[in-house]
């Protein structure tokens, strides 16, 4: 297959450039934020290995998928979706009842609290509702496959995108490895198929010695050039790298081994069960992932990134649209997998921090603390809202933010422990006192 530059490549390139500029702006915003929060970058950089720093450049790209596969016994898959930019939990999972602090919320952000008609009340909860953008996912709530956790954060996370993402992805340590990499290490030796990433490098959560595989897309993950010499070329390259003492040598073997698997899986690409994916990188990444899961290549851990959640201006329209489009993609993914296959797939959606409760001067919100997580797919105890919540009030806020009452590592830890049988979490979230929310089940 000969790859030639086309006008479409030019358009994509232009978009990539613009996306890069957003990264630059976000990077600078992080810098400024770190001063106002009194955060010392010094401490963090001391603990950050070069690999982690490398990952930063593409951290805010629109979509990114990485998956890891191993021979672990459960045949289950955990997918971590990271909403980059700091998603506003309060407009996604709304404390709709008076008892949850709805009046106080409305007083601080009158233009950002939806009318009741635009909130979908969640049955069986103490008065929670969700953004209407979740409509596509609500059928999963009725089948016990959708759960939410409000007021999530981890002590040590600041209002800097850079620091917060790194801190969460490293599992709260200063180690150079990510929490998912350590999960894979704890699960034992992995197989060939590991990481798939839009934009080049795997996210920090997968940084570390476990072999990584990154892809722009499943259909591009192929040997370039004339098919007539493909197999002979692959054989030759593998032999040329044998015995070379370099990280490159390991990656080359992993990559070349994966080509055949990727190509085989790609032959059965295409949505099943009547699923219709929306356009966009996130959806196409999930579609690729569904193809790989159906092909049973042994994916155990996957990460997908979605950018654009940094809603400093005109939040209502932007956030609702983002929520709707992410929900549509996730709903298509679940439909694509079908009710049986998705029993072995648990998706955890997280973000680096929540946003200030009060609206800012631009009808948006600035960086805050407590946010929300949501989980979907198989392996949940039941649908619902989990965790502790302090009704919103002047006293309940912390520096104008939702005070975190639920710990992100408790959620992530419980999911990999119960779904992947990872055993002890001591090496995955070192020093963290584990208090599961009992939202997942082992079977």
């Amino acid at each position: 297959m000969t790859r030639r530059l086309t006008d479409d490549d030019g358009g994509r390139f232009d978009r990539a450039l613009r996306a890069n500029a957003e990264q630059v702006a976000a990077g600078l915003a992080c810098q400024e934020e770190s001063w106002s929060a009194g955060f010392t970058r010094r401490r963090m950089l001391q603990g950050v290995g070069m690999a982690g720093v490398a990952a930063l450049a593409s951290q805010l790209v629109t979509t990114k998928v990485a998956y890891a596969a191993g021979p672990g016994g459960t045949r289950n898959t955990v997918i971590v979706v990271f909403l980059r930019g700091g998603a506003d939990g309060l407009r996604m999972l709304v404390p709709q009842a008076a008892g949850l602090g709805h009046h106080y919320l409305s007083s601080l952000r009158p233009t950002l609290v939806q009318a009741d008609a635009d909130i979908r009340t969640l049955p069986g909860t103490s008065g929670w509702g969700v953004n209407k953008g979740f409509d596509a996912l609500l059928p999963l709530y009725r089948t016990g496959e959708l759960a939410f956790v409000p007021a999530v954060s981890v002590a040590g996370v600041t209002r800097s995108h850079f620091q917060a993402q790194q801190f969460l992805e490293r599992g709260g340590t200063s180690a150079a490895t990510g929490w998912l990499d350590r999960t894979l290490a704890a699960l034992g030796p992995g197989t060939t198929f590991r990481a798939m990433a839009e934009g080049g490098v795997a996210p920090t959560s997968l940084a570390g010695p476990q072999p990584d595989l990154s892809m722009n897309s499943l259909s591009d993950f192929t040997f370039p050039g004339w098919d007539g010499v493909k197999d002979a070329s692959i054989t030759a390259i593998r032999s040329l790298y044998r015995g070379i003492d370099s990280p490159l040598a390991q990656d080359v073997q992993t990559t070349l081994s994966a080509i055949a698997v990727a190509e085989r899986a790609n032959k059965s690409a295409g949505a099943k069960n009547g699923a219709v994916y929306p356009t966009g990188n996130f959806a196409s990444s999930l579609s690729d992932l569904a193809t790989l899961l159906r092909a049973e290549v042994g994916v155990e851990v996957a990460t997908v990134d979605v950018g654009g959640w940094d809603t400093h201006t005109d939040e209502a329209g932007d956030l609702d649209a983002l929520t709707a489009s992410a929900s549509a993609a996730l709903a298509a993914f679940m439909t694509d997998l079908g009710p049986t296959r998705r029993k072995r797939v648990t998706v955890v959606v997280m973000t680096e921090f929540g946003r200030r409760v009060q609206t800012n001067a631009s009808n948006g919100t600035d960086h805050g603390t407590g946010s929300m997580m949501f989980l979907l797919g198989g392996g949940l105890a039941r649908s619902g809202v989990y965790g502790k919540w302090n009704a919103l009030s002047a006293n309940a806020l912390r520096d104008g933010d939702v005070a975190p009452t639920n710990n992100a590592f408790d959620v992530l830890g419980e999911v990999v422990q119960k779904r992947l049988s990872v055993g002890s979490l001591a090496s995955i979230f070192p020093g963290h006192a584990f208090h599961p929310l009992n939202l997942a089940r082992t079977t």
Binding site: T2, R3, R4, L5, D9, F13, A16, L17, N20, A21, V24, A25, A26, G27, L28, Q31, E32, S34, W35, R41, R42, L45, Q46, M50, A51, V53, L56, A57, F162, A195, A197, G199, G200, V201, D212, L213, S214, M215, D220, F221, T222, F223, P224, G225, W226, V229, A232, S233, T235, A236, I237, S239, L240, Y241, S246, P247, L248, D251, T254, T255
Partner: protein, 516 residues
């Protein structure tokens, strides 16, 4: 490696090992080993050593640069590169590439006016031109040593290109700071960077005032640009570092200006530096004195020496080499070229073949150079294509976002998608898929004047031509198997008649090209 050293260099630890080296190397006399710690070079270079040198102090060997090096020898090659860089500074070493960046020689106000006249004041045209010219010079400029030094310091004093607040000013950092002082003194480069609108915006010094100090630049100056974390400065040092530099800002025309009315006054101490700093009118001079103090600090010498050795020698250079390079830096008043020459003339450098992994963009450019490609007649289209190729691997020059520059060690670049992209680029270049971007000569030209007689001889010749050595018999056997014919097959009957275009990229895919 069979080397005849005229002498050896470096610090105590290596001197202590001298006897062992001498024993291993009959050509190395004890008298030579006791020579002063600078200026030792192999008298003559093997082909592999030529490739080594040109893969480190240039963006990769080309036919032209190889024959020039073979003619001159390493010492005269170095002097010639220094002369070239001095004679043709900034962008002038390759006029055709320079012509692709007309806005780069303009002032911020002129860039703004020019872009406005072209229809979009806020266009990224100037920033695009900077990326394009940088890529073009890395690939095609004859002043290769200059480009490698520029690349190092552009990353050391990183300012991310392609950001809205850099729209009319980013060229000033490249032109007036990095390129201007690349062959000069680091102290001058540092002082210029602390008066550069692009840097001041990027690290927020432009916003820092005595009422509201922004510590960003003051901290990165210590952590990244000069002494590094190993100097163990305190948070008070960081605050003082920021305070003494207040007043440095950017005017409405995008030019640097010092405004005494926003300069913080009062006594300042940072590490061993102190200033009374009582008069705002003298605040800029006090800041310059602080910057020059930092540039000459032993911790800065060590920090810079470590980074230079990581760039030019290996991911884990020996402490002895780093110490020797740091010593040279201080002994030469922070002059960059003598510091680099200490690396160039070190045994450790000449023994570090293949100790570095090429970053994705370096692999692309080295592939272009070794295949002797030329940019297509539409130079803008050619450079746009190269920009697309490097950006596709998240490695377009000057586009690293955080202030620490692109990482320079192998583990940071582990990526299967980049590897597959490089396989695609090797094939595209060797098979001329993109002849509106770059043109490669026919691959039969790689044989040179005398065509090899057999398939086996052709493989050995091609490997030597492309990666500097004929590879081991086992690896040549791998390529022979790829061709599917015995080594003794006469070239006239060889499958190379059809498979040459597939064998060439295969050699570039291998570790002898991926590592430098």
């Amino acid at each position: 490696m069979d080397v005849n050293y005229a002498g050896v260099l470096i610090g105590r630890e290596q001197t202590a090992q001298r006897g062992r080296h001498a024993a291993e190397r009959p050509g190395l006399s004890m008298a030579a080993a006791q020579a002063p710690a600078v200026g030792a070079l192999p008298a003559r270079l093997t082909t592999d050593q030529q490739y080594h040198l040109l893969s480190r102090f240039s963006f990769g060997p080309s036919s032209a640069s190889l024959s020039q090096l073979a003619r001159l020898g390493p010492a005269a090659w170095w002097d010639g590169q220094v002369a070239l860089g001095r004679r043709y500074p900034i962008y002038s070493a390759h006029p055709r590439i320079a012509a692709a960046g007309p806005l780069l020689n303009r002032s911020p106000a002129q860039v703004r006016a020019s872009q406005k006249a072209a229809g979009n004041e806020y266009s990224w045209e100037m920033m695009d031109q900077l990326t394009l010219v940088t890529l073009g010079l890395q690939a095609f400029s004859p002043a290769q040593l200059y480009e490698t030094v520029v690349d190092f310091f552009a990353n050391h004093l990183n300012v991310s290109n392609h950001a809205d607040d850099q729209t009319w000013i980013r060229q000033t950092m490249d032109r007036d700071v990095v390129r201007r002082y690349a062959f000069g003194r680091f102290s001058d480069m540092l002082v210029a960077s602390a008066r550069n609108p692009s840097m001041l915006r990027y690290l927020n010094l432009a916003d820092s005032t005595k009422q509201l100090v922004n510590e960003n630049y003051g901290r990165e100056l210590l952590e990244l640009h000069t002494v590094g974390l190993a100097a163990r400065y305190s948070e008070v040092d960081v605050k003082n570092s920021a305070k003494i530099l207040t007043g440095r800002t950017v005017d409405d025309n995008g030019n640097y200006v010092y405004r005494p009315e926003i300069h913080w006054t009062g006594a300042v101490r940072v590490l061993g530096f102190s200033a009374a700093n009582t008069r705002a009118a003298e605040g800029q001079a006090a800041g310059d004195a602080y910057l020059r103090y930092l540039a000459q600090h032993p911790s800065t010498a060590s920090h810079l020496a470590q980074k230079l050795c990581v760039r030019f020698v290996s991911d884990a250079p020996s402490p002895a080499l780093v110490a020797a390079v740091a010593k040279t830096y201080l002994a030469n008043g922070t002059s960059i070229l003598p510091t680099l020459k200490a690396i160039f003339t070190s045994q450790e450098f000449w023994r570090s073949r293949h100790a570095k992994t090429r970053r994705p963009a370096e692999n692309l450019i080295a592939s272009m150079r070794i295949l002797d490609v030329t940019p297509a007649p539409d130079i803008r289209k050619a450079l746009d294509g190269m920009h697309w190729m490097t950006a596709n691997m998240s490695n377009a020059p000057l586009d690293w976002v955080p202030p620490n520059g692109y990482p320079d060690v192998a583990p940071a670049w582990r990526s299967s998608s980049n590897f597959l992209t490089l396989l695609m680029l090797h094939r595209g270049l060797a098979q001329n898929w993109w002849n509106d971007i770059v043109l490669a000569p026919k691959n039969t030209a790689l044989y040179g004047r005398t065509k090899p007689a057999t398939s086996g001889a052709a493989i050995a010749l091609l490997c030597t031509r492309l990666v500097g050595n004929p590879l081991t018999p086992a690896k040549r056997g791998v390529l022979q198997t790829f061709l599917g014919e015995p080594a003794s097959t006469p070239l006239a009957q060889s499958r190379l008649r059809w498979y040459l275009d597939h064998l060439v990229p295969l050699i570039l895919d291998g570790p002898d090209h991926a590592l430098r």
